[in-house]
Amino acid sequence: MTTSSPAARPRIDWTRPVLWLFAAVLVLLILLPLSWLAVYAFTDKNRHPTLANFVTLFSNPDFLDPLLTTAIIATTSALICCIVAAPISWLVSRTDMPGRQTIRALVTASFVTPPFLGAVAWELLAAPNSGLLNQLYRLFAGEDADALFNIYSMTGIIFVISCYTFPFVFVLVANALDTMPGELEDASAILGGNAWTTARRVTIPLALPALVAGALIAFLQAMTLFGSPAILALPAGFHTMTTKIWSLFQYPPKLELAAAAAVPLLVLTILLLQGQKALLGRRGYSVIGGKYGAPRRVELRGWRWAALGFCLLVLLNPVFLPYLALLNAAFSPNATTLVTPSTATLHNIVFVFTELSSTQLALKNTVILGTATATIGTILALVIAYVTTRKVIAGHRVLGFLATAPVAVPGIVLGVGLFLSYTRPPFVLYGTLWILLLAFLTINLPSAYQQLQAAFTTIHPELEEASRILGATRLQALRQITAPLLRTGLIATWCFIFIGVMRELSAAIVLFTSQTKVLSVLIYDLNEGGDLAAIAVLGIAMLVITFAVVLAVNQIPMSGGNAGARLRNG
């Protein structure tokens, strides 16, 4: 039983040069835009160092007001998100409420709804004059009654942002409650604690870090969102930080101020993420040791249906009402008239896909960018995840850090950084799809990397080593052993990046030109033009694709149930 060694003479190991190349790409992707951002923020038009930009930023009411507005919006939304999400996640995770899976699915639905689409839908529902809800109100209160709701207001913005931000809190808290071992509660019960005491002394303290972390994330989302405030605040005549940054790009552009205004967003994001990490990572709160059974569910008895009613009532706002409004607008001759069987029309759909000239271009661009970003991003994330989990080269930790760093860069900040980096030689990418590709790659890299890293850690390194010792080279082992085992994870990652690209608005809005419009930008443009029916059609198409992908991915084993959690809102 003797066979000759499979490779007689040593070959050059290409692994390392390739890996260093990937490291260089990462550095370029993340450090270059941030460096230019810093340069512009701290210099004047002639690139002389100055702090004047920040002085303007913190003394001129034009900038102070948006700063204050943003702070109010973010704080209030975060609070509302917690108040709404905490009871729902407890009901879904720890009680015998009927329809728990349905509620989870509906929360996921509001999770994957692009926030700017939700904002447009709420325009349809609650614009002061034409809003469907206000029309309904006037049926009872009389034609001349004042509007019941005005979505173009601070309250309106806070409401809409909360609708599409509370899932972040829900996912974190529900996850904490799901994984909390039932024995911890049983131990309290056996020592004499009644249900309320147990909840107060054990369950709530254990879930609290997740809730606070969720609040931080909600704050972050509300702070860095561009779509919703742009759609709702600009008509109301005020700015948030993100819309202000965007307006600085309008003619005449004030790039230095835009860069400076992006800095507080960046710094706050980094601080909040650090806070979240510290909260969730604290040793004392992580559940430790042993094997645990499934948690016991609290019996709600007579309150079961009331609880379900509460959940459905809450979900009316992010899901049912907006979706109905969109469907109505898509099939109605007039976006803000209730459709009846006799007035139902396919005209909007035909118009959007055949007559609206920019649709074709935007669709083409979105598909090209989605496919390219998903493919390149998956490969990039795959290689980095491989390097960091298998510790192939020295400095693999730096690579892992770089791959997750973009999490801390809000979309609009990245947009500004990329704009500054790629409008000058040697890289003049502005006006091409390349700059959007870079933006989308950077934005989607962290979640893709984390997903693939998790997939890699489930594959025991000995599986690859077994193949090496039997005669496979590193690349053969990757192709024949690792790749097939990772297949489902790779498909899921690809799909999520694709969806992420489709819904991205806040970076695209500063980077697009007329020839590089994408679907999300088109929807934003159509909103400015008041073409709500076309938005409804495009939005529904977008949602259908998103749901199809999320459902398909959830069917694949390995890529867990709360797949929506990995999406990032633009």
Binding site: T3, E462, A466
Partner: protein, 353 residues
């Protein structure tokens, strides 16, 4: 086929020295066990031999070819070795048969030869009925046999085993020990076997290298290691011997707890402290003064447990040393009683370290 030689092998991880100047020659066809507690460097040594790690210093030769040195390390795939992993590392997306023939496919062997070899190894490892199953559908013992078959079918020059039995339950472990030895005798590979279980090492190995803190503490045949330990570490690790700390009176006598013990083993220097090892079942325990026996001393029983096959005593000598003694079940002595211990001189081994 060839011998495997480690020359002053060193492996550092940062400032931690995992393998510290290890030299070992494994003759062709020999089965050597690296035995030691976790963290002693045995698995690192094995992974150095496999080529998964590069040495910080020293070299590894297979036959007359240097496969690992500080400057150049042949990748694992070019070493013509096979390895059995602690986790078995069976590929879950391939059937048993596909797992087994993987190495042959890499060697571009023709279809007929592969089929022939596969049939032979399936028969040897009693896996014929399971060839088309997936690893997830097999029991632990069956997975273990697939891992063996996969490693053996390529006819490696060297076979490496990394705690191959640690995931099996006790009965199966005993059975597989003999199976591994039987297959080794049949094919005669040069084999390196890593384990922390001394009885596993005893049944399988030609030579045992007991490792401690990155060094080989003692190298010898199983009988040498068990009957003639040289260091306190080996005496304690193999068969949990009592080690008493006395003072040497001359080359073969030790002062301990008011008596003089005659000992064998390491040559002693008068006046130096002298550790002496004696196994618990070699100490004789009696309730009256033994007549005319050398090496007797008085002790008090501090604990007595009935174990079914025998009794397990803990006794304390006059200087406060606790010794463990195993006796037949008939000798029942109450806790607190005075007893006399006889330590047969030929069983008292003076240790050099």
């Amino acid at each position: 086929m060839a011998s495997v030689e480690l020359h002053s092998l060193v492996k550092r991880f940062g400032s931690f020295v995992a393998v510290d100047d290890v030299s070992l020659k494994i003759d062709h066809g020999q089965l050597v066990c690296l035995l030691g507690p976790s963290g002693c460097g045995k698995t690192t040594t094995l992974r150095l031999i496999a080529g998964f790690l590069e040495p910080s210093d020293g070299e590894i030769r297979v036959g007359d070819r240097v496969v690992s040195s500080k400057s150049r390390t042949l990748p694992p795939e070019q070493r013509n070795m096979s390895m059995i992993f602690q986790s078995y590392a069976l590929w879950p997306h391939m059937t048993v048969a596909e797992n087994i023939v993987y190495g042959l496919r890499l060697r571009k062997m023709d279809r007929d030869s592969i089929a022939k070899k596969l049939a032979a190894i399936l028969a040897t490892t009693k896996l014929e009925p399971l060839a088309q199953r997936y690893p997830g559908e097999l029991s632990g013992g069956q997975q273990q046999r697939v891992a063996l078959a996969r490693a053996l079918i390529v006819g490696p020059e060297t076979l490496l085993l990394d705690e191959p039995l640690s995931n099996l339950d006790a009965n199966l472990r005993e059975e597989m020990r003999f199976e591994i030895r039987r297959l080794h005798d049949e094919y005669r590979y040069t084999t390196v076997y890593v384990t922390h279980d001394q009885s596993e090492a005893m049944t399988t190995a030609d030579l045992i290298a007991v490792m401690n803190a990155g060094k080989i503490d003692q190298l010898g045949a199983p009988e040498d290691i068990y009957a003639r330990p040289e260091s306190e570490f080996v005496a304690r690790f193999i068969g949990a011997a009592n080690v008493i700390k006395g003072t040497a009176r001359d080359a073969t006598h030790v002062e301990f707890a008011g008596t003089t013990l005659e000992v064998v083993g390491a040559r002693l220097t008068a006046g130096q402290s002298a550790p002496v090892a004696i196994r618990q079942h070699e100490i004789q325990l009696s309730t009256h003064v033994p007549t005319a026996a050398p090496n007797t001393l008085k002790a008090v029983v501090t604990r007595q447990v009935y174990l079914g096959m025998n009794r397990d005593y803990m006794v304390e000598t006059s200087d406060g040393t606790s010794l463990r003694v195993t006796t037949p079940t008939e000798t029942a002595v109450e806790k607190g009683s005075e007893v006399w211990l006889t330590l047969p001189p030929e069983r008292c081994r003076a240790l050099s370290r």
